[in-house]
Symmetry: C2
Subunit: 109 residues, 2 copies
């Protein structure tokens, strides 16, 4: 099965993951919650390629999770919609689990 067309699965978890079950989408959304909104900011923060970033932003707008907004003539940034803001509890639980079960091990010397 292709990962696509999970969007029509009966299970709501599968439908959620059809939107954000890839390697970057949730990190982009996290950045939005941290106040980032511009292409460059995402790129600097995440270090993913412009190629993929552009693709993910487009999808997120199509999915009505981000809203493309002209912050100055001809330049656009991306802001969370209400649907996007509703993702906060998911990020909160990912945060909790990571903090508790994947503690950051500092490099020793």
């Amino acid at each position: 099965m292709k990962w696509s067309n999970l969007e029509n699965e009966i299970c709501p978890i599968a439908r959620s993951l059809s939107v954000m079950g890839d390697r970057w989408t949730l990190l982009i959304i996290r950045d939005c919650f941290l106040g980032r909104s511009r292409f460059q900011q995402f790129q600097n923060s995440l270090g993913l390629t412009r190629h993929i970033l552009a693709d993910r932003l487009k999808r997120l707008v199509e999915e009505d999770i981000l809203i493309r907004h002209e912050y100055t003539r001809g330049r656009y940034d991306y802001r969370l919609s209400e649907t996007g803001k509703a993702l906060e509890p998911i990020l909160r639980e990912l945060f909790k689990w990571g903090k508790q079960h994947r503690p950051l091990r500092r490099k020793v010397a």
Copy 2:
């Protein structure tokens, strides 16, 4: 940047996603919560290729999220560890969001 080595990020969300930020892992874990534990069960349920399934199960065992368990001589199945069970709230929130914001639209004739 490669998606790998997210595991050493300062942000706990990134560290969580370094484990489960791919296309199938969370669905496999969902299946575990639904009582599935065997290779065939996952494969039938999810329809992903055996190749990838084997790889993901191996990783989940290495990550101590699943435990490989010999259910009969020479046959192994996979069960949630405590760390794995701690993922439940994440799935719960994914469920809620999907149910509310990605309603299942039935095909009209």
